[in-house]
């Protein structure tokens, strides 16, 4: 006799207890059930067998079955509805805007169009102002050619210089990337014109001074615009498509891990603060902020609110002070700084002042710890100082600046270590990449590109299809993957 391909040897074995199991599952028809019950009543051994199965089945019923919290179900349903709505809107738009075009022709058209509009808008914005520095002139030139563009994207400071003296408010420029991607360059330029004419020289900006907003604009555009992200990752030798998909999956995974209070789970209180700050940094790395209006912006909003409430308290007079010794204040400082920088154009003056005050408090703690901490924690303490300096909230002392530069030099010497675990390699990539991008050591950039090529694929492979890191530390791995377009 030929056995069916979907059966197993043990499935075909004699099954004396099979009717008992079917009875247990209510799978016998009325006649078979009555017949079996009569047999059981007459046969104590059979009855004992049935009892044994019943006990096992009762025990099995007790086995843990996880249940979702009510809030999780509501949040998940809302997330699914918004995700699918966005997909359906995007599908409608593409169908409407690009009928019957061949793939390659559309890509070529988009590519040419984008280059034209980017150069056009830049030319428009630069028109009428005089270059004031050699660095500014070179940055402008850098934006005009492919090879030079590579230099410009690798060094955001140069790119920022190109914007610095154009008297553009960052709020307008922050939309440039999205608007260009939608082919709205002309209308954008028209909208900008009145603003350009009305902005005065050295208009004071909150917290950061004149040089800050332009750097933020560059960062914001690059973090939020897929084209710019891909371009930059391509130049660095990353598999841009794979990297962006991995980051997207990772963010989706992490977003689902957020607790209703805005925090992310940790082993204890301190770890929860660290995990929340790290996870927020991953979202901020893709341009999501507490002032945005999208689903992922809401994740940042909840997380930032939790972090601020957890670390800082205010008395009746509104004076802020640290609530605890805040041993993880460094990572929290970096996260709060980034959110402040990326969103302060949307903040009221009072809110911006409040946040700057809080960051300054946290930064003091980070600075105080600098002399005593080592390893990864020292790295975060240094980043915290750098972030507060870039945000314009705190002026870094010469001694701390030297510490930062020493760390940058050390991080630049890191080499690939395939024997290390995922966390170590992600941290090393993050350290070296960030150090080199923050430094002005142009000679080290090729090394960083080699490093990136080596590690990007490994880092992507660490995430499973759901976006979760197989060995943990999803947020850290996303941060390492985002080094290419994080920019500061």
């Amino acid at each position: 006799m030929t056995r069916r391909p979907d059966s197993h040897p043990q499935d075909d074995a004699p099954q004396e207890d099979a009717p008992l199991l079917d009875l247990l599952h209510g799978e016998l028809d009325a006649d078979a059930r009555r017949s079996l019950e009569e047999r059981i009543a007459a046969d104590p051994a059979l009855a004992a067998q049935l009892d044994a199965w019943k006990r096992l089945a009762a025990l099995e019923r007790e086995a843990h079955v996880p249940e979702a919290a009510e809030a999780d179900a509501g949040r998940l349903a809302a997330w699914i509805r918004s995700t699918v709505a966005a997909e359906e809107t995007a599908r409608t738009r593409v169908t409407f805007e690009a009928p019957r075009q061949r793939g390659w022709a559309r890509i070529l058209a988009w590519s040419v169009g984008l280059h034209v509009v980017v150069l056009g808008v830049l030319a428009f914005m630069m028109g009428g102002s005089e270059p004031t520095r050699e660095g500014e002139r070179s940055a402008r030139v850098a934006l005009e050619g492919e090879r030079e563009w590579e230099e410009a994207v690798v060094d955001p400071a140069d790119t920022a210089l190109a914007f610095r003296y154009e008297r553009i408010r960052w709020q307008e420029l922050g939309e440039v990337g999205d608007r260009l991607a939608l082919g709205e360059a002309e209308s954008l330029a028209e909208e900008l014109r009145p603003d350009l004419d009305s902005i005065e020289d050295d208009q004071p900006t909150l917290g950061a001074g004149l040089s800050h907003p332009v750097g933020v604009v560059v960062a914001m555009s690059r973090r939020t615009n897929d084209y710019l992200k891909r371009r930059r990752l391509d130049l660095l030798g990353f598999n841009a498509g794979g990297t962006l998909r991995a980051v997207d999956r990772g963010l989706r995974y992490l977003g689902h891990k957020q607790r209703p209070d805005g925090s992310f789970p940790g082993t204890d209180e301190r770890d929860a603060v660290e995990q929340t700050a790290l996870t927020l940094l991953a979202f901020l790395g893709d341009g999501h902020t507490s002032r945005g209006r999208k689903e992922r912006d809401a994740v940042v909003q909840r997380g930032v609110a939790w972090l601020r409430g957890r670390l800082i308290e205010r008395d009746a007079g509104g004076t802020a002070r640290l609530r605890s010794d805040a041993v993880t204040s460094s990572i929290a400082t970096v996260a709060l700084c980034e959110d402040y920088m990326l969103s302060f154009g949307e903040l009221s003056t009072k809110a911006a002042q409040r946040r700057a005050e809080e960051i300054a408090l946290l930064s003091e703690r980070a600075s105080a710890r600098l002399a005593t901490v080592q390893g990864d924690r020292r790295t975060w303490a240094l980043w915290a100082l750098d972030a507060t300096a870039r945000s314009g909230v705190v002026t870094v002392s010469p001694a701390d600046r030297r510490s930062f530069e020493t760390w940058v030099a050390g991080a630049a010497e890191l080499e690939a270590d395939t024997e290390s675990g995922a966390t170590a390699n992600a941290m090393a990539t993050l350290s070296q990449g960030t150090a080199l991008l923050l430094s002005e050591r142009g000679a080290d950039k090729p090394r960083f590109m080699r490093w990136s090529r080596t590690h990007a694929e490994q880092l992507v492979a660490l995430l499973d299809p759901t976006g979760r890191a197989r060995e943990g530390d999803t947020a850290l791995i996303l941060l390492a993957l985002q080094v290419g377009y994080r920019t500061y």
Binding site: H25, R55, V65, K257, T267, G472, D473
Partner: protein
């Protein structure tokens, strides 16, 4: 008459977005249980459930109540498990720091205890864990039948429809699964109270 989940899904299919949340509330725990018992840890089970519900919502317009919604749902769930995990050989039992999200107290994932507990110390919890290990040790084909029948309380007929196999095969796999579980417990010296 259609069951409540089927009614909710029909409302979703007709464009009633408000019906989706109660539907998710109703089926999410069962989906989580399904993936957990197939071998996923809590984090992966959540992700799988999320993906399945996303697929259901994406395809909502084409839903027709040819069978109970549960049958439709677990057909998708089972295919998702095969696509993502079984065929790609992703280890579903990975334990990572990310799994800390599984428990509200943040203590982290439970580590598996010894397979054979010290004699005379078997408590209720240990007994249940031994049983979970026994279920987890089943082969894929037996385990999915067992989980659908025991965790989801589906009839053999429905399981056959979900898995695309005859009812007789469902039945024989179910019997074999029970026997293997019992054999495994007996091998550990365990007998249910």
């Amino acid at each position: 008459m259609a069951d409540r989940d089927t009614e909710l899904m029909l409302r979703v299919a007709a464009g009633d977005e408000a019906a989706f949340e109660p539907l998710v509330r109703s089926v999410l725990p069962r989906l989580l249980g399904f993936f957990r018992r197939l071998g996923a840890d809590a984090a992966i089970a959540e992700d799988c459930a999320q993906e399945v519900l996303l697929k259901v919502y994406r395809a909502r317009a084409g839903y027709t109540a040819r069978a109970r919604f549960t049958t439709y749902l677990f057909h998708i769930a089972r295919n998702h498990w095969i696509d993502v995990y079984r065929h790609r050989k992703v280890g579903p039992r990975t334990v990572s720091a990310d799994a800390f999200g599984d428990d509200e107290d943040g203590r982290g994932p439970e580590l598996e205890g010894p397979s054979v507990p010290p004699e005379g110390t078997m408590g209720r919890d240990e007994l249940l864990r031994a049983l979970e290990r026994a279920v987890a040790s089943l082969g894929e084909e037996h385990r999915e039948v067992f989980v659908l029948a025991r965790v989801e309380n589906l009839r053999y007929q429905e399981i056959g429809e979900i898995l695309g196999i005859p009812v007789g095969t469902v039945k024989s796999r179910m019997h074999a699964a029970w026997r293997q579980i019992r054999a495994r417990l007996e091998a550990e010296g365990i007998e249910p109270p």
